[in-house]
Symmetry: C3
Subunit: 359 residues, 3 copies
């Protein structure tokens, strides 16, 4: 790439040294406008985020910002510094949601490089980071681990970097944060339409979320822009014409949101996302694809509270095949005898929600 | 359809028994963000909804929520319970707009099943419902009759249902609600750009609204999602590939809105929608279609007020043909001698607006 | 065109006589929702418009409305009266940004016809206008000159009009307005991510803004509708099928915004747009086009302030060719020996920004 002058072409593997601290630019005041766009782009219906009366009945000041919108804004905020030159987003883990975010709050984020591992070939390397998002009072709203495969600026010079950290498989129950103002005593299931409580979800149970929803170029672009995510894979049709897929790829977080909001049908009472334990974006999603989703209940977690418990869930999104009526399994065995994701599966998200107990 | 677990596959004819009362889930706090999206999706320009100063001059606290946005939100709210398995939306009538809605108000809705009629074939049936939308203080913002053709869960078992109610052809003048805070004394036509008053509209007069506007998939999907309308005909490209039209159909309410906002040019002073008397969506609208609109003035209704009267109007939308320059009539006679809608006509809406009198 | 009844088919050359004053209809209360949509449609990241804390640190009450969003709303507001029948937007000049606009402010606009010049052929004519936008307190937020090529209602009758005004090439430094509340003492470049100050930009310097972003039909339509710009070239797919380009053309202002927001990468500290000196939309932008941008630094302007100076910049947008890696010059010489814009160049904007000085 030629000189771009005062513009930034993004960091490379060599720039992201272990211990580096980055205070990301462009904090973001989240507004009612962002909430409306989130609804229009994802079909969000969880009442905590669109019904001020319901939110107040649960102890909040007003409707809160959708947990995933908080995730996308904090994540998007890190892209210019961390992943503009990422070859691949390898994974994320230990994603913990903190205090409630209200319209009007301003989110800023900070990333620490935890460790790195150069690839055998020497021309790329994985980088592990921890990002923390905070509101204008410095309170933590989100914290997550993430690792990305980075291009090297100078592929010919070995760095010897090999200090990758451990990544936890699951966020421990003791690390799940519940906003102190939340009181589920007055939780009214007529508002959510949900008929099932924490006790009703059995590990091993599967819920098909019935609907399918198509994704358009304008939609995933508007979503990624709303989150100020500048990753070129979502926008630069001209440059991507010569890429592996030959076209734009929807931001993986948009697919998470679409699947999560589809899952309202069957998980109506899941009042809050507490954690992402880990996730895999097994295939890309393109404009025109129709997304379906199912949920497998993995675990019922007792939080030692009277009013609610946690559910660990696997949210699976598939494209252009209805898992409720077509033969879509999570994994398939290829001709080579190796197991891999079903080609229709685009997302495998292991996450934890807060669910009221039967009263 | 196989078991979907805890998700809801929607109600069928058998579920919607006469007398059933449904308090719909997911109340909706309407915000400034929703208003902006409504403008961006429909080209809305009526100043009452985008000019706080004008709204205050008419007695309102601030700009009010567009009447049609209120309609779409209340209507969309009923879809998961009423029309998810609807084969067709057969009609609506007696649609009355109530008190003004402000950004920040929370709308919830309630539906009563009024009656049913099983089809001769026995595999479907029509269901008549009354839906009432209210704000957080319980004040009525909207009320309407609607009838839908429903699939039966068990087509083989006759229900004998035959208690369809009467539906009025028109909302009576005495039933038209005008917000008590509204005072048109200070109505300033410079703000609207309108040059015609109630007295100037003559029954029989036609107004061509000049412009045409194309509809994109992303736009009608975002509109329907904004209204939290989950009807699969608007979203599920994959499943619809095998349907009659082979593709997604724009939400009919989006077409009403596009046509209504086109009609600003010629009806600039129509300060409020008072009622829908009835409407027919005579053909589907697809992405890529360009919508044009004309208005026929049906009736000038005296409201026994000094400041304003009502106009009963027929709003017709046509696609991909400009009625001002091409030969588009409302009705045509087919080769079979039967009269039907012109194939370009997509909407025939009989509605009533409030119009200031000449001062 | 046949009679359209009470609708307005727009003004013609004959209607826009020198000295005509037009108070445009439909004032617009700008809201948080508009700001969110602007971000989602243009990828805006300038913190003054999305970070309330940063805005307050600079002396503002809260985040301000993006300067270009103000421009688009005021400009769009004039379209129904001025340019509905424009054959071409010939140019604009002396575009001065005035006092800060906050969410909740209501903008209205007023246009004066300054002069006209009939074309030699007699069937068209250029009209020069001055538009001023004001907030609800009557304070000027924007003022600009603009000239358009208009159709004549009666091409056969000569008007003899020939009183075109002079248009300045540049807004003089003494005419650049800086909001009185703005105090850059506390300007924190960590918030913007910018590393360069006023003193660091050298005339002759070029900055390539690295990214490219594709534009979709739904996006440019939503943008133009958000600004209540009714120009049919952006919307009427049906009528445009028979036009020169055979399709919809993106609103030129949307292209300015996309390019300006791309330029954040390299101009992060450009805290405010002070003026447009002039601009040329050298080629149309269509859905599917990918926009790139570069900036040439034209001049460093001393404002006799301690905290900031102005930069005069040339912002160039190109489509479907990356100027950082492909051979895209501003101008090329054709086979006929005449110099013209490179066919990939879509925008050449000469504008002035406020930039903090190194502290």
């Amino acid at each position: 790439m030629p000189a771009v002058g005062k513009a930034t072409a993004g960091n490379y593997f060599e720039d992201l040294v272990t211990g580096l601290e980055v205070e990301h630019a462009v904090p973001r005041t989240v507004t009612e406008g962002d909430q409306s766009l989130y609804i229009a782009l994802t079909a969000s219906r969880y009442p905590l985020h669109c019904d001020a009366e319901f939110a107040r009945a649960l102890g909040f000041r007003r409707e809160t910002v959708n947990d995933l919108l908080v995730f996308h804004i904090v994540f998007g905020n890190t892209v210019p510094d961390i992943s503009l030159n990422a070859i691949a987003n390898l994974g994320y883990a230990d994603v913990r949601f903190g205090c409630a975010v209200y319209p009007g709050d301003t989110l800023r984020s900070h990333t620490t490089v935890l460790g790195r591992r150069e690839s055998r070939s020497g021309d790329t390397g994985a980088v592990w980071v921890r990002t923390v998002g905070r509101n204008q009072r410095g309170e933590e709203v989100l914290s997550f681990l993430r690792w990305v495969l980075m291009a090297k600026r100078d592929p010919g010079t070995a760095s010897g970097a090999d200090d990758a950290p451990e990544t936890p498989d699951v966020v421990a129950a003791s690390d799940l944060a519940i906003p102190p103002e939340l009181d589920l005593t007055a939780f009214d299931p007529v508002v959510t339409g949900g008929r099932a409580w924490w006790e009703d979800y059995e590990p091993g149970e599967r819920i098909h979320h019935v609907e399918g929803v198509a994704i358009e170029e304008a939609e995933h672009q508007m979503a990624a822009r709303l989150y100020q995510n500048t990753a070129r894979a979502h926008f630069n049709a001209h440059a991507l014409a010569g890429s592996r897929f030959g076209r734009r790829v929807a931001y993986g977080g948009h697919v998470i949101s679409v699947a999560r909001e589809l899952s309202f049908n069957g998980l109506e009472n899941a009042v809050r996302v507490l954690a992402f334990n880990g996730g895999t974006h097994s295939s890309p999603t393109f404009a025109g694809d129709t997304i379906y989703a199912w949920t497998d209940v993995l675990e019922r977690i007792d939080l030692s509270r009277e009013d609610a418990g946690a559910l660990r869930l696997r949210l699976v999104a598939a494209k252009n095949a209805d898992p409720a009526t077509e033969d879509v399994t999570l994994r398939v065995t290829g001709d080579d005898g190796r197991e891999r994701y079903h080609p229709s599966v685009v997302l495998d998200l292991d996450y934890t929600v807060l669910m009221p107990k039967r009263r």
